[in-house]
Symmetry: C2
Subunit: 478 residues, 2 copies
């Protein structure tokens, strides 16, 4: 097939060549002129036709690959993918986000959401008492705009917590508070600059991917093995920023061992300007083995940007996240973002400060650890008898686990079948496919991601019974 | 002078030619190799030397102009500016933001800050009562993540207010809440895309300029006349997004007349993809003449993005701003930003909702209007006897005015002299120069921006006495 792509090679062209080719092909695929299953010319052939270099066509194809428009089949070439699926998934995602709560209430009897948290156990009384105290104190300055990075007292309290609990090496001036991780990533975009290529574990935390994508970053999905992100693949990808979750990879549940951490830090140190974003999103909850300190604590070169949040350990509506910048990025932060007023209300910052220093936060965490541990144990006790059907993964930390569906005599129940059958019983489970940067990139066998934080113990039991029934029905049809 | 610029013209170059030239020259100026006052070659000559087109060199020079590295002198050519001033101003700005409050308390007796608000008159009691009520109501769902655009009830209340008070045509699904205007501009960046050129009134609200600049947008400063932004200059600039404050331009105080508004709307309608960002930052306060509805209300083509905030009408620490998107941008918003969780805490949203629907907000506004009017009148009564020295501008709305320093027999006291002399008396006044996108672009005579919101009536009187003394000392030295 010969493609006539009208590229503008003149020096006047405002857009790099590879981008012109990428955009042209994307539009052809989206419009349906290039159809599902069609083979594209090889990068070499296309380069010859267009009189451009092969690395240019390769870059264009790589971009299409990473966005899920085409796939590469070994020894066969590049093929157009079914983009209806792509568009649909994206749209479902958006609708899901919009109607989230309503949908949950109306449709699902039991929802194993990996994003849930247990709000029944939140110390509302304490929070209310602190709130009243802050408001009654009649500090008018709380209504004036405060410190741009966040209240110094709160930053100090967070720094102390991170040092003690997570081994983070931090002084308060390195901490920037923001209304949610996503906002902090928008600041990072302005600190690191836009000419960055982000390497992400695949599968990953899709929200972060959406932010990078929406900001216009090129994102390279990096495969994992049992130890986590594969550093050689990261090196090959050309990424200069790696976004990782070493304490408990979401969704795979992998805790990155020390050796891999060292490899990752060496990768960052090897070239000027490389950084690692460490998202330590649920490090508070761990059930077995010694807690492993944050990657940031082992970083001697100032390459790790540490991000954490109170969304999971307190409540999603408390819009307070924090970022620890290495010293060498503080100047860039102050130059490019120093003028931004804090996005967190000063009253809320003061409530959180009291919650931390009064010891209420620690008590809350200890209580939640016990509650989540009990739920975790019940879930596992329900799965153990099914271990000839499901393999359990990632069960040592966090508030979700993975179930790998085992093959039976060469046959296996597919993710989609199982998700749909469970849905018929009012049970919502999440296929691993939904966590891939591109759904067609799933290299894994059928797996389910089961969150249990927002379910009661009896809901967990009932949910697992129904899931088992659903599985047996699927398997009997094989 | 011949410049040897190593431009990479091959198709492989990752960067457009103009950007290579711009970056090279910027570095030469920053390093001091191209010195203050040196003349650059003409765009034609440079284009010939480098074998590129003249529009390429023009684009490079335009970028340097807009960032303040060079200036254009009519009939003479382009000259390197003194960048020490540029760097200094930027750094002062940052330090100012960081230490803002401390500095105010320690250093200034009377601060005519145009960003101040009167917090003595804030109804703390009401706010506290509502806060308690919200927390006592024991609505656990307030701790769950809520609607991505903001609570539907609050959006409806804001929509009603905007319709009644400002003539904004709005339905709640067009409203997006966010933690501050700056955050909303970051969302707009993702909605409108990064290949935009922003036209801004010059002088302007520098915070917005800093955001655009930090996001990497090219910003074109557009001159104003007595009616506001000059639409022909906007057209010439190549901008496709205009950021304007038609109700009360900051800092010039111009209220854009209807005819100019229509011209501006026609400009937007003339080409696909053009938009106007209307920042209606202090429309709540108006002292003379009929209130003019928002520009958005006259927009029939869906080209106006309306932005407002409660930072000034309630308090800076209440991090709640809102944006009204035209229908045709809703799809792009949902595609590119729909996944972002709201940056405003749900509890705060519910407090604000109660504050609005209980009528407390309206009562507060009416009270503030009277308070600000009284301060405004006192300030003016102190200036009137000095009208042979100062011309008053922009006194019909908002909470600041402008003083133009009149010439005396061909001589005039300079802005800097006056600011410094007043500072010696502990009085902080703000020269208009600080509001220009680039300080060297000030085309205006000496002017002061005087905010009076956070001063008491006696402070205003005392401050004006001291300012008069300072002026007389400056003038006597001429």
């Amino acid at each position: 097939m010969e493609l006539m792509i009208p590229v503008q090679t003149s020096a006047e062209a405002k857009m790099p060549l590879y981008e012109q080719i990428y955009l042209y092909l994307k539009e052809e695929i989206r419009s349906g002129r290039l159809k599902y299953g069609m083979r594209l010319p090889s990068t070499r052939l296309l380069a010859e036709n267009l009189k451009v270099s092969r690395s240019t066509t390769q870059m264009a194809y790589d971009q299409l690959l990473s966005e899920g428009y085409i796939e590469s089949r070994p020894c066969k070439g590049y093929f157009v993918l079914d983009i209806r699926e792509l568009v649909e998934i994206r749209e479902t995602a958006v609708n899901e986000f919009f109607g989230e709560e309503q949908e949950k209430k109306n449709k699902w009897k039991i929802d194993f959401s990996p994003r849930g948290i247990d709000l029944e156990s939140f110390p509302y009384g304490t929070w209310r008492r602190i709130s009243k105290k802050i408001l009654v104190d009649d500090k008018k300055e709380l209504f004036l705009s405060g410190n741009h990075q966040g209240e110094p007292s709160l930053r100090e309290a967070i720094g102390n917590y991170l040092h003690t609990a997570r081994g983070v090496r931090v002084s308060p001036e390195q901490i920037v508070l923001g209304a949610g991780n996503e906002y902090l990533l928008m600041l990072l975009y302005q600190i690191l600059g836009k000419d960055r290529v982000i390497g992400m574990e695949n599968p990953t935390y899709k929200q972060a991917y959406f932010v990078f994508h929406s900001l216009g970053y090129q994102v390279m999905p990096i495969s994992m093995d049992a130890q986590g992100i594969q550093v050689d693949k990261l090196e090959e990808s050309g990424a200069d920023v790696a976004y990782v979750m070493p304490s408990h990879q979401h969704p795979m549940g992998i805790v990155m061992p020390v050796r891999r951490r060292m490899e990752l830090l060496s990768w960052a140190a090897r070239k000027e300007g490389r950084y690692i974003i460490e998202d330590d999103y649920d490090s508070e909850f761990r059930y077995r083995g010694k807690p492993i300190p944050a990657l940031q604590g082992s970083d001697r070169e100032g390459r790790v940007i540490y991000i954490g949040t109170f969304s999971r350990s307190i409540a999603p509506a408390i819009r307070i996240s924090y970022m620890v910048l290495p010293q060498n990025l503080l100047y860039s932060y102050r130059q490019n973002c120093g003028f931004y007023a804090s996005t967190v209300s000063r009253i809320d910052q003061n409530i959180l400060y009291e919650f931390l220093v009064s010891g209420a936060y620690e008590r809350h965490l200890n209580r939640m650890r016990a509650i989540y541990k009990a739920k975790h144990d019940i879930l596992l006790s329900k799965i153990r008898p099914l271990e000839n059907k499901f393999e359990i993964l990632g069960e040592n930390a966090g508030v979700h686990i993975l179930l790998r569906v085992r093959e039976k005599a060469g046959k296996t129940v597919s993710e989609q079948e199982l998700v749909e059958r469970a849905a018929a019983y009012g049970v919502r489970v999440y296929g691993l496919s939904g966590f891939f940067i591109h759904p067609n990139h799933n290299e894994y066998p059928a797996m389910l991601v089961l969150g249990y934080a927002n379910l009661t113990e009896s809901e967990i039991e009932e949910g697992m019974e129904l899931l088992k029934t659903a599985y047996l029905e699927c398997a009997s049809k094989k």
